[in-house]
Amino acid sequence: MLIFIFFTIGYLIYSRIMAYSLAPTMKPADFHGLPIWEIPVAYLVDYFSHGWICLLFAFVAAGLVYEFVPKEAITKYMGGNKITGYGLAIGMAPFLTVCSCTMVPLFAGILYTGAGIGPAITFLLMAPSANILSILLTGEIISWELAGVRIIVSIVVALTAGLVISKTSWGKTIEKEHQLNSSSPTSRVLIAKPPLDERLWSALKFGGYIAKQILPFFLLGLVAVSYVVAYLPEDIVGTYLTGFTGILIASVIGGPLYTPTLVEIVLGKGMWDLGMSKGALLAWLMGQPYDVANALAVSRIVRWKAVLTYMLIAWAGSVTFGLLYGVLSGSL
């Protein structure tokens, strides 16, 4: 088991040293002349010949981190004051939400305890946009610069949305309505840690579990991406996905297209190759937090007003920072 983990990490480092690309390397020109059915096949073969180690590493790392991050810290400190609440929401969200089904329950939990609606919203926005799996893949497939920017922007946007909503009058109403006035029940949580080998095994099993959840959709997504790369003319991308309009368009289509399957990273990479600007690429990736499925689940707990507000802030954030990053990196 340990050997497997070391092999994965070692091989990734080795591939880095040998400097070969972990992203798909096929260019649009390569697809010309291929029959329709062969396009996805060629693309998948190309992708997996480079990308398998990157995916393997991402899933192993996500499993390990999820297993060893002290989850009970959430229980222990979330009941405390607001500042710890925001800190925890930002610090823990990336590690706890590789499995999307935990997100809404945790949102509700944070809302009901002392931390209140601000940290809850921060957590909700931070979680999908900066979870460890998508950051690792953004870094490996697109660039580590963009991954870094994505983390920073996620923190800023999530924090802003949380602070703004907690200041509004109806935000406070929701908070009052849901707050429990019990004292912090931490004494009831005493996590018994199993031996290390069992933890490692369960970490790998969890990595395998998320892989099983995500990979089928990821494959379907890659097939779709292969057609986009093959058939979308470069001048369309060049016209519509650059400049200010490019950022607007990217941020608008990024949201509804979001699926928690990491496809958006590969699709973003494909469009970037076709000439999408860096600013638009960031706006595209930041479009995720306001995805519809989560918004529906959350609206059952808080009102639509709060959901719409945080979506609006997330959208404004993705446009603003897309612009800013575009200007700063000279690729608008």
Partner: protein
């Protein structure tokens, strides 16, 4: 016959990992029955106000033995559940 309460705390509708946890607990319970321990299994919703008032914010799936959360955020194997129950009984 000793009695032990085990609460499986998960999301509703049940997610796969919560169901897997429940199955481990059921399997452990039938083994423990032979050792004269009666395990009573309950299901709790992780985001219901009652659960949060009792235990605070938890990462599902979680497991509480005799009203103390012993495990969260992971799926235990059958023998791990047995170990947790036995440690509580002693």
């Amino acid at each position: 016959m000793k009695e032990v309460t085990v609460e499986v705390i998960g999301v509703d509708p049940p997610c796969k990992r919560c169901q897997a946890t429940y199955k481990s607990v059921e399997a452990a319970a039938s083994t423990l029955k032979a050792r004269d321990i009666d395990v009573r299994i309950f299901k709790l919703k992780v985001h219901s106000k009652d659960t949060i008032a009792k235990y605070g914010v938890l990462v599902p799936p979680a497991l509480a033995v005799n009203n103390v959360v012993k495990l969260m955020g992971r799926v235990p194997e059958k023998k791990e559940v047995e170990r947790l129950v036995l440690a509580t009984v002693k």
